[in-house]
Symmetry: C2
Subunit: 310 residues, 2 copies
């Protein structure tokens, strides 16, 4: 049973709730938007499960702590918000020592400090594995932005360079060392969510999503929510230098690393076409455009010239 | 490594955070209190983990869904708040069918409807077991109440009758049937958090906690946070009729069922002594008093007469 199918089902079940004045926008974006004391607030939850999201033999406690909060902060960034308060619900296996837990909190709290997040408390539970389920609140931007606002004619832009995280994960798994591997592994384990960029983008973007599960996958979620087709120019995707230099050793093309890399925590923004130049000036990569239709396709099959001249 | 020791450590680590204007009161109570748009908001998180908190062979999906949200709502009740918006972060094992998940959401959403909670979204993760980590926001009461305000001379009161939940759990485990068992099992699987009572109590109570982990255990947490001794009159603890009638078959005394029963989701309130009569009028049981010292003791060793005449 695929995750997307399950989310479709859960979305249907949740849509049968009574209308609540507290709920501005529920399931379907990186964050929910709720009303708190008359103002909009962002809410998001994410999980970091041993054996699924990380391997405790290969990831330090500090990195696990940093990354588990960074993933949530990235969701707030993708809503153009400012992260505020976190709750940390942990599952702890008997094999976990206090020193590991201390390292985890040290990483989590350094990420919290870096992004101005207050860790307000949480919960502890026994378990057979380690898992961190973090819920995070955020201040909502004046203008709501989500996945569903893309329109034909818009451009597709990304912050940062892709592929480093996946390259780092593969280096970790295969024990590859060296300078590029260290850079890529750090990119995988110590992501810097794009909060400042998200706040700027939320002022102008038609749609916004964070790249937590691969560029093409996230583009397809956005296309589905917006009921449009996203046309990507693979050759325009900014590739992380470490991914480029490691690609051959990893047996992958730089583009496939960049297109498929999860946990980049960069932002994919859908912008009005007139902002293409400004996006490039700000260091974003313009990697495609929005068309009528559905799904995500590579540029060649959709007509490169149309994009360039259109 | 005990949970209390871990919580002490985590409290210490969190106390080294910078001061945040968003954080009114962090770890140490049933809920955290944060500031949202200038107003106080409650935040709480709780987990419901297969194999730890329930057994999927014995608990229906609907009951699991109800109970996992009810536990969070009870935390908001213990802060005197009004529950508002929930995020549901699930771990799903491959063996879990869609019909089970549908039942889970059906129970969760019926609990949400009953208490006016909007389910705003959440997260899905693969796992080896089922777990539901729920975060819940709530509207804070005008007057903050937590675990630390008990003072010598106060009285100890409880809502409801104790022991039913533990009796129900034991009936489930041992396959005991019959009317009393059915009542006790329902009490265990379908708790009704005391939101209305919590709101009333928050106006006058010196301290408040919910009974999610046994009356005596919760009293000891409250005594520790308030730096007082809590003296309980075991004979005054209201025993649930189903617990009383099942006690012999379960090989327990009614009092031991009532004192040790977790997941009651009743409230234990520390009230000024002058309110003892009013508490009784409202159907609460007055079960002890607060003295100088530390810990929880039974009434006999502390002087029954002192309590009655004091």
């Amino acid at each position: 049973m695929g995750e997307r199918h399950l989310i479709t089902l859960i979305t249907r079940w949740l849509s049968r709730q009574p209308r609540f004045s507290t709920l501005v926008r529920g399931i379907g974006d990186d964050c929910a938007t709720v009303r708190c004391a008359g103002k909009r607030e962002l809410l998001t939850a994410d999980a970091f499960v041993e054996g699924v999201h990380f391997d405790r033999r290969r990831v330090s406690a500090h990195d696990a702590g940093w990354k588990s909060l960074a993933a949530n902060i990235s969701d707030i960034a993708a809503a153009g918000g400012i992260p505020a308060c976190a709750l940390v619900s942990l599952e702890l296996p008997p094999s976990l020592g206090v020193s590991w837990l201390k390292g985890f909190y040290s990483g989590l709290l350094s990420c919290a400090r870096r992004f101005g997040v207050a860790v307000a408390g949480g919960n502890l539970s026994r378990s057979t594995h380690f898992a961190a389920h973090i819920a995070l609140t955020g201040k909502a931007p004046a203008r709501l932005v989500g996945r569903s606002g893309a329109r034909p004619g818009d451009i597709v832009a990304v912050t940062g360079r892709m592929g480093g995280s996946l390259a780092g994960l593969l280096c970790l798994k295969r024990g590859i060392r060296g300078t590029a591997a260290r850079t890529a592994i750090r990119r995988h384990l110590h992501p810097e969510p794009r909060v400042a960029e998200g706040r700027e983008l939320a002022k102008v973007a038609h749609a916004l999503i964070d790249i937590s599960d691969g560029l093409v996958h996230e583009a397809s979620l956005l296309a589905e929510a917006s009921k449009v087709r996203i046309v990507l120019d693979a050759s325009a995707i900014p590739v992380h230098p470490a991914a480029r230099s490691l690609a051959r050793r990893l047996g992958k093309s730089p583009i496939s690393l960049a297109a498929g890399s999860g946990e980049e925590y960069e932002l994919l923004a859908i912008l009005p076409r007139r902002l293409a130049g400004r996006a490039q000036l700000k260091g974003m990569g313009v990697i495609g455009f929005v068309a009528r239709g559905r799904g995500v396709i590579g540029l060649k099959s959709a007509g490169f010239d149309h994009f360039r001249n259109g």
